[in-house]
């Protein structure tokens, strides 16, 4: 019998094109997502060297970082943003790459568009010049973020030169308690292993609590693999995966779909496969999680307290707690559910899918956003927006006082007009709470959509289960 393999081993081995003399591997790339921020210099590189895009049909482009989320009919006001988006459109056209413009209802955040269109499938290698490409790992695809030089390499050769990472297994055992979401699971993971815990590894998420997640939830977990330091995170495909893909525009059809299902299911990690590192977390120990500081590992449960640097023995850690407290404008030992907020951002490639919006609508229904709080909801794609409106969620949001907007990355990284003012505090469903991430001097607390919605209603961080 052959050696048992992890899904990562299997995908890696099935994509080896050649091995270089120095021991690196030329790995085939099945699919390439392209957005406006990290691609212009790559296309320029191709032009300068007279190279062509090898497989335009394996490449999909859309603008997401710079697009406005209101008054779209007026176009993009910022001239630099406008130029970057127009440059992508021109590069796509010149190279025969499918481009979804702002006016196409399928436009949205690349990591939401790929899965929606069936562009993302199990067993594939997928790259994008964006660290949250790890999202696609939810399908059992090996997906990771790359820099612009590698975007150019992929465009020109449909391969990348890689060294294999190590295997890490993160097992979430048992069932989560009611109201605990995929976001809480992944924040609890980062809290445990730290932002460098996954460096050098590809993480595979396993266990009952992961199996029980919808595809949307699995995408939330895999999305933040990068915040745990891992380039890629994945979940072995199962029935949930296959059912999500059935009928998607780019998914195989008819009999071929059944062939594909058999192939996809064969990718699951084998019993007894070797992992270089194994981490176990009990699902029933997780309650809603939030971040208090400026690193995604600064996580605390909603019934917890802001840490006290005096309790930290390690000098580096103590210094970074002090720096974070100062930046965040928080006092040590205060209960986190007393932290007042000014803004709420619901959206991003972490939590901008239909399931997230449905969860928010449950909280918002019949309630009102606290006076003085501005709470925006930014769907992850035009199709998410359309579906939400079909279900009447938009009416619930607007009635409750939320600002219902057009799709894009928006205030997750504030490259468009949506940003925090200095010292403004935000309850956010995004993935990074770095200094200045949502606007210079802005203070970000990461949490689930339910928790962000509850913060909007109460005007402070709060356990949504107490509403």
């Amino acid at each position: 019998m052959s050696t048992p393999k992890t899904i990562y081993d299997k995908i890696w081995e099935s994509h080896i094109v050649d091995t270089n003399d120095d021991g690196t591997t030329i790995l085939y790339i099945d699919r390439h997502l392209v957005h406006e921020v990290t691609s212009p210099q790559a296309f320029e590189g191709l032009r300068l060297s007279g190279r062509k895009v090898r497989r335009p049909e394996f490449t999909l482009a859309t603008a997401d970082h710079n697009v406005p989320t209101a008054d779209r009919d007026k176009g993009i006001a910022d001239p630099d943003s406008k130029l970057q988006v127009e440059t992508l459109e021109m590069n796509a056209k010149e190279n025969n790459i499918t481009y979804l413009p702002m006016t196409d209802k399928r436009q949205g955040i690349v990591h939401i568009v790929g899965p929606e269109q069936g562009f993302t499938q199990p067993g594939m290698t997928i790259v994008c010049g964006d660290s949250h490409t790890s999202t696609h790992g939810a399908f059992g695809a090996l997906a990771w973020g790359i820099g612009t030089s590698e975007v150019e390499h992929t465009l020109a050769t449909q391969t990348l030169v890689q060294t294999k990472a190590k295997n890490m297994c993160i097992k979430i055992t048992g069932k989560v308690i009611e109201g605990v979401t995929a976001k809480d699971i992944v924040l609890a993971i980062i809290r445990k292993i730290g932002t460098a815990g996954g460096t050098g590894y590809v993480i595979e998420y396993t266990g009952e609590a992961i199996r029980n997640l919808s595809m949307e939830g699995r995408m939330t977990v895999c999305n933040m693999s990068i915040e745990a330091g891992a380039r890629a995170g994945l979940i072995s495909p199962d029935e949930t995966t296959c059912e999500y893909l059935r009928g998607r525009p780019l998914a195989p059809k008819g009999e071929v779909f059944e062939d594909a299902v058999n192939y996809w299911k064969s990718l699951a990690s084998d019993e007894g496969a070797h992992y270089d590192s194994v981490v176990e977390i009990r699902a029933d120990e997780i309650i809603p999680q939030i971040t208090w500081g400026t690193s995604p590992e600064d996580v605390v449960s909603i019934d917890g307290f802001v840490p006290d640097p005096e309790n930290e023995k390690n000098t580096d850690k103590k210094k970074s707690i002090e720096r974070a407290l100062d930046y965040m404008g928080l006092e040590p030992n205060m209960p986190v559910n007393e932290i007042k907020i000014d803004k709420v951002f619901i959206g991003s490639c972490t939590n901008g899918r239909i399931e997230d919006l449905r969860a928010v609508s449950q909280i918002a229904k019949g309630r009102k956003v606290e006076k003085g709080v501005h709470a925006m909801i930014v769907p992850g794609s035009g199709l998410v927006k359309e579906q939400a409106e079909k279900e009447g969620l938009d009416k619930i949001f607007i009635e409750a006082g939320f600002d219902w907007r057009d799709p894009g990355c928006s205030m997750c990284l504030a490259m468009n007009a949506d940003k925090l003012q200095p010292q403004e505090r935000c309850a956010s469903t995004s993935n990074r709470n770095f200094e200045g991430r949502q606007g210079r001097g802005g203070r970000t607390h990461l949490m689930s959509p339910q928790m962000a919605a509850a913060a909007a209603i109460r005007g402070k961080l709060t356990d949504f289960r107490d509403l």
């Binding site: 085939y28 210099q41 612009t148 590698e150 390499h153 391969t159 460098a196 780019l250 594909a260 200095p422």
Partner: protein, 208 residues
Amino acid sequence: MEKFNKLSGHAIPLRITNVDTDMIIPKQFLKTIKRTGLGEFLFYELRYDQDGNKISSFALNQEQYKDASILIAGKNFGCGSSREHAPWSIADYGIKCIIAPSYADIFYNNCFKNGILPIILDEATVSRLQDSSDSILNFNIDLEKQNITFLENNEKKEISFEIDPAKKKCLLEGLDDIGLTLNKVASIGHFEEGQENEIPWLYGNKLK
């Protein structure tokens, strides 16, 4: 691609752990369609206050580090986004070597594409070098020999470092890795034929 072999220069100590790419180059500077000219925005929000005035306590603004070409940083340097604007801004500023206990994966990889040598040393050594960076006039970095040499209290010191041989070669020779891969274009074509036979649904399906 830029080569890296030897470097002699001053070092800037940056005593912050988990320096993320948003800190290295904030998003408002990512709207460029060029690779060049980002050096003046490196660490922008640490270097300048909200009115655009220099923050004098920040190392990059201090006279003694004016011509530094080495950065000595805290662990998990370069975490966060995949933006290659981070190494572009570092190289454009004039820093060609970083010394830190660890790096985030994508950033580390991006350095090699831009002629920057990211050296990994243990935390205690990095901390010691940060403390003595003011008194050491020149760090001599030799990639071929994999060592850092310097004079400290008139004594010659040497610290060696490890680096992956493939990555070392790539920096020493400044190779065009796209060109190298394209030399194997026949293997790529062969792979595609095999894959199309085995997984035919991956081929011939394009979004309209």
